[in-house]
């Protein structure tokens, strides 16, 4: 048996489904006819959005094609996602997601189908284009599951929500898990404070000056993400216990719900009000400077 994972999301888990026996047989036939469809697991295209499929075998049983020839397949491999990938196979795999209780709803199906038919080229990895990349896609810093994480309670905010600390600490203090009582600003401790008008690029640069990284760091990782109210303000969310994201809006109490009153499991899709631009994730340990 094979499971198919649609590799498309960044913050939330990808949709996964299991092929039926008939679908499994067809997959084997397609791979036997076009072996180049099969790509190693580590050949992911580094971009946000559709990146192909990850196929995983649920058992080590060998499979056969219709000519009863044994086909040897890796336990995990990729299909689709490359610019020259076979769109027909990718579209067929997408249609196999049409199952009861499928995590691939009509909108996601259509978006993926469009991405397969009109693939976007991966951005050039040229540092001189860094600002342009921010301006066009805004997002930099993918969500990573770090091996060591500093996760505070997602329900008890008493450390933050008492006077006078509640008024003296903002979203950046909360994101850094550091109560400086200075209404902290990214970059201020490093002498390079973020300035208006705020955008992903300028705030991210200030974060880097304070010691934040776009990858997991050594030690206990604090995972946070940056969002922007274009031209006016910035805001942060921090990953807390049980996969819930928490935040503190200015001098208001720290909390675990969004503007719709819902628990935040995904800061990308939660209701963020005016803060419409999602800039990506950043990571730090206790050695960052925040003031």
């Amino acid at each position: 048996m094979f499971t198919i994972e649609l590799d498309i999301f960044s913050g939330r888990p990808n949709p996964v489904w299991t092929l039926t026996d008939k679908q499994e047989q067809e997959l084997v036939e397609r791979l036997a006819a076009t072996p180049s469809l099969l790509r190693p697991l580590n050949t992911s295209v580094a971009r946000l959005g559709y990146r192909g499929y990850i196929v995983s075998a649920l058992s080590e049983e060998s499979v056969t094609d219709k000519r009863s020839k044994k086909v040897s397949l890796p336990s995990q491999f990729r299909i689709g996602g490359a610019e020259d990938a076979d769109a027909d196979a990718a579209l067929w795999l997408l249609d196999t997601s049409d199952q009861r209780d499928s995590e691939v709803d009509a909108d996601l199906h259509d978006t993926t189908r469009q991405s397969i038919l009109e693939p976007q080229e991966a951005p050039a990895r040229d540092d001189t284009l860094e600002k342009e990349e921010f301006d066009t896609s805004h997002t930099k810093g993918l969500f990573m599951r770090c091996s060591s994480n500093l996760l505070t309670s997602s329900t008890n905010f008493s450390f933050w929500n008492s006077w006078p600390y509640i008024a003296q600490n903002n979203c950046y203090n909360f994101a850094s898990n550091y109560r400086s009582n200075t209404f902290a600003r990214p970059g201020r401790a490093a002498g390079r404070p973020a300035r208006q008008p705020f955008d992903c690029y300028s705030v991210r640069r200030a974060l880097n000056a304070d010691g934040w990284s776009e990858r997991c760091v050594l030690g206990w990782n604090i995972t946070s993400c940056l969002v922007i109210w274009p031209g006016y303000d910035f805001h942060f969310y921090r990953l807390c216990a049980n996969g819930i994201w928490c935040h503190k809006a200015g001098s208001t109490p720290a909390r675990n719900y969004d503007n719709s009153g819902r628990l935040i499991f995904n800061p990308v899709t939660c209701n963020r009000g005016f803060y419409t631009v999602f800039c990506g994730y950043q990571y730090a340990n206790q050695y960052i400077s925040v003031r």
Partner: protein, 122 residues
């Protein structure tokens, strides 16, 4: 003489805009506040974005600031002093404070706040 500072509670990362009321504005505010009926406390929505105005008042006889939040038809305590909740169903104080904000905040932000007040249901 009273000194009343007003803060537009709207930002998260950067400090909120704040300004001082003129003496005439301060007197009018106190008069309006005194006329409001007391109400039972209720849960105010904590949101990203517009959250009303925070007014802090001090007088020579009571130099310790007392701060209240004016938002969505209510006046609620905004510090540990524990002032009583008051009802302002027509949101007259909120609109009055918005008017005093005009010289102190960007025009585009003023428009955003005015729209947020219109769309906010009590």
């Amino acid at each position: 003489m009273t000194q009343n500072t007003v803060e537009l509670d709207i930002f998260s990362g950067r400090p909120n805009p704040a300004w001082r009321l003129s003496e005439a504005e301060g007197v009018r505010l106190i008069t309006m506040l005194k006329a409001l009926p007391v109400m039972s406390p209720k849960v105010l929505p904590e949101v990203l974005g517009y959250r009303g105005f925070i007014v802090c008042m001090a007088t020579p006889t009571a130099p310790r600031h007392t701060c209240v939040r004016i938002y969505g038809g209510t006046v609620s305590p905004h510090d540990s002093a524990g002032e009583a909740w008051r009802a302002d169903p027509d949101r007259r104080i909120e609109y009055f404070l918005l008017k005093t904000a005009k010289p102190w905040i960007e025009e585009s932000l003023y428009t955003i706040v005015a729209q947020a007040m219109q769309s906010h249901k009590q």
